[in-house]
């Protein structure tokens, strides 16, 4: 392929000089030849990929199935008939995870944005809030979320204060929101800081107020930049809602646990795992795509 002289014939259809604008472009013989070669290369690549996949995956499968533990493994984890029997209960539990995700994500978006804006503002009136926000972020990013869930979920009811809820679902959600707001605030803040200072100056010199500059110029650019990491956090959030099961919330994990402890079979856990994957895998793929687009856009901007 490298023997083809690319430069010499790189202008296909340049024969009829005057009529060139009117003649539809036809690929030259050279280009047709190149396409044929590329097609052949593609075919070969597909064949190699399929062969190696069949070989590797097939070997793994055969080794697994013929191993002495295979029978007891499938009986313990993949007893599908039993799995489908308990599936409705697990799905019911999973709706709690989804609901919790939606409510928590909304609260985290609002709370995280408030913290990020406080931390990036330069207004002297907000100085005490800026200090508080910094402390907040430092503390709650540094503690395992499981500890926060335990502290909030069991600690607050232990206070026996009137007017405070003992509802484990609300307490669990609160703990998740507290932790995730700290993460998301930092992601948003980094997005705000990467907007070039000239953009702010340009907006201010047009007469836009501080708030208008934030609303129309800074935030739209910042949010676009941090969409991929925010989507990553959303995937983590969905998974981490499973942690509130420790408080006794009947979510998918808890529902699976109940079924499993009755039958001494672990298939319910596998069913719960599959439910989580059905949501998280598409979301992860989507995140990947968004990230690729973001990078492409950034490269395009760098060239302009």
């Amino acid at each position: 392929m490298s023997s083809l002289n690319e430069g010499a014939t790189s202008r296909p259809g340049s024969s009829g000089f005057e009529n060139r604008a009117f003649v539809a472009w036809e690929p030259s013989a050279l280009e047709l030849e190149r396409r044929a070669i590329r097609r052949k290369q593609n075919h070969r690549n597909v064949i190699i990929a399929s062969l190696s996949s069949v070989l590797v995956l097939g070997t793994l499968l055969v080794v697994a199935i013929t191993s002495p533990g295979w029978k007891s493994l499938t009986d313990t984890f993949f007893k599908w008939a039993y799995g489908f029997e308990v599936l409705p209960k697990i799905i019911l539990g999973f709706t709690t995870n989804i609901l919790l995700t939606i409510i928590a994500a909304t609260c985290v978006a609002i709370f995280g944005m408030a913290i990020a804006l406080t931390r990036t503002s330069r207004s002297p009136a907000l100085t005490p809030f800026r200090i508080l926000a910094t402390i907040y972020v430092d503390i709650f990013r540094g503690i395992p979320m499981l500890l926060i869930i335990l502290l909030v979920g069991f600690g607050i009811p232990a206070l026996r204060l009137r007017g405070l809820t003992n509802n484990v679902l609300i307490l669990g959600t609160t703990a998740v929101v507290i932790t995730y707001s700290a993460y998301v605030a930092e992601v948003l803040r980094s997005g705000i800081l990467t907007v070039h200072p000239s953009q702010r100056a340009a907006a201010r010199s047009l007469g836009l107020s501080n708030f208008q500059t934030l609303r129309h110029v800074v935030l739209p650019q910042a949010l676009r930049r941090v969409t991929p990491p925010l989507l990553n956090d959303l995937v983590s959030l969905i998974k981490d809602t499973g942690l509130v099961s420790i408080l006794g919330v009947t979510d998918a994990v808890r529902a699976a646990q109940i079924s499993s402890s009755r039958s001494f079979n672990y298939t319910p856990y596998v069913m719960a795992a599959i439910l989580f994957l059905m949501v998280t895998i598409p979301l992860t793929r989507f995140t990947d795509r968004t990230m690729r687009h973001a990078i492409e856009r950034q490269n395009a901007q760098g060239m302009a």
């Binding site: 070039h196 000239s198 340009a202 007469g207 836009l208 208008q212 676009r224 302009a304």
Partner: protein, 249 residues
């Protein structure tokens, strides 16, 4: 009302212990262009930023149409509406189309309806030959087109005074000319301007007055012929000699 659109008296600006502008005084009469030349770091950008109230000054007075704008009690947003500014780069908002860039301030600041603002913007874009780019995003425009859109955007709020800070220094020579011809058009239309530039040929074409800035002080000023073609101050002579050697005259 004063005959001068802009006047500075004894303006001083420092960053920490570094004095960047010292004893700057000049007047800009209506419909004229004042061009600042000077070495990199001489304080040209800082001067324009101070006039636009993006940076505060340490001493002196800046007045716009006879009203002091360096008074801490003035409404800075209101003053900035009367001033248009175009920077060296990163002017346009990358998440907005050309049309949205140009109509943002008329809609949000001046309170025009969207259709009125777009009509006015289309007229401006058409006048400067950029109407076909109205729906494009900035990253689809050439550097020269981007700077011209930035100029148009600052015109859309009908400023009293336009501040242009080395608007061609990030462009290659071919694109420089199209931006400069846009500025010449503005000059012909009677826009009052303060510019900072490295292009001496351009300075000669548009300037009514040229000021040479050296280490934060205006050491020589006058007509472009006088300052650029027959400078009297040895520091101006030295600067122009170096510009000449760099092949920019």
């Amino acid at each position: 009302m004063s005959a001068h659109v802009l006047s500075l008296v004894g303006v001083r600006k420092s960053f920490g212990s570094e004095v960047v502008l010292e004893d700057i005084s000049f007047n800009v009469p209506v419909h004229t262009a004042t061009v600042f030349i000077g070495a990199s770091g001489s304080g040209k950008s800082t001067l324009l930023r101070c006039i636009n109230l993006l940076d505060g000054i340490d001493d002196g007075v800046i007045s716009l149409d006879g009203q002091s704008i360096s008074d801490p009690r003035v409404n800075t947003d209101e003053i900035r509406r009367k001033l248009g500014m175009v920077f060296q780069s990163f002017n346009l908002f990358p998440h907005m189309t050309v049309m949205e860039n140009v109509t943002l301030a008329p809609i949000r600041v001046q309170g025009l309806t969207k259709s009125d603002a777009e009509e006015q913007a289309a007229e401006l874009l058409k006048r400067f030959g950029l109407l076909d780019k109205a729906k494009s995003y900035p990253d689809r425009l050439s550097g020269g087109q981007q700077q011209r859109v930035a100029i148009i955007r600052s015109l859309a709020v009908r400023p009293r005074l336009l501040l242009l800070d080395e608007i061609t220094s990030a462009l290659d020579p071919v694109l420089v000319n199209e931006v400069l011809s846009t500025v010449r058009d503005l000059k012909r239309d009677g826009m009052t301007m303060v510019l900072a530039t490295h292009e001496m040929g351009f300075a000669k074409q548009v300037a009514d007055e040229v000021c040479f800035l050296h280490k934060g002080r205006i050491v020589e000023w006058g007509s472009p012929e006088q300052v650029i073609d027959s400078p009297r101050d040895p520091r101006t002579q030295d600067f122009l000699k170096r510009v000449h050697e760099a092949g920019r005259l």
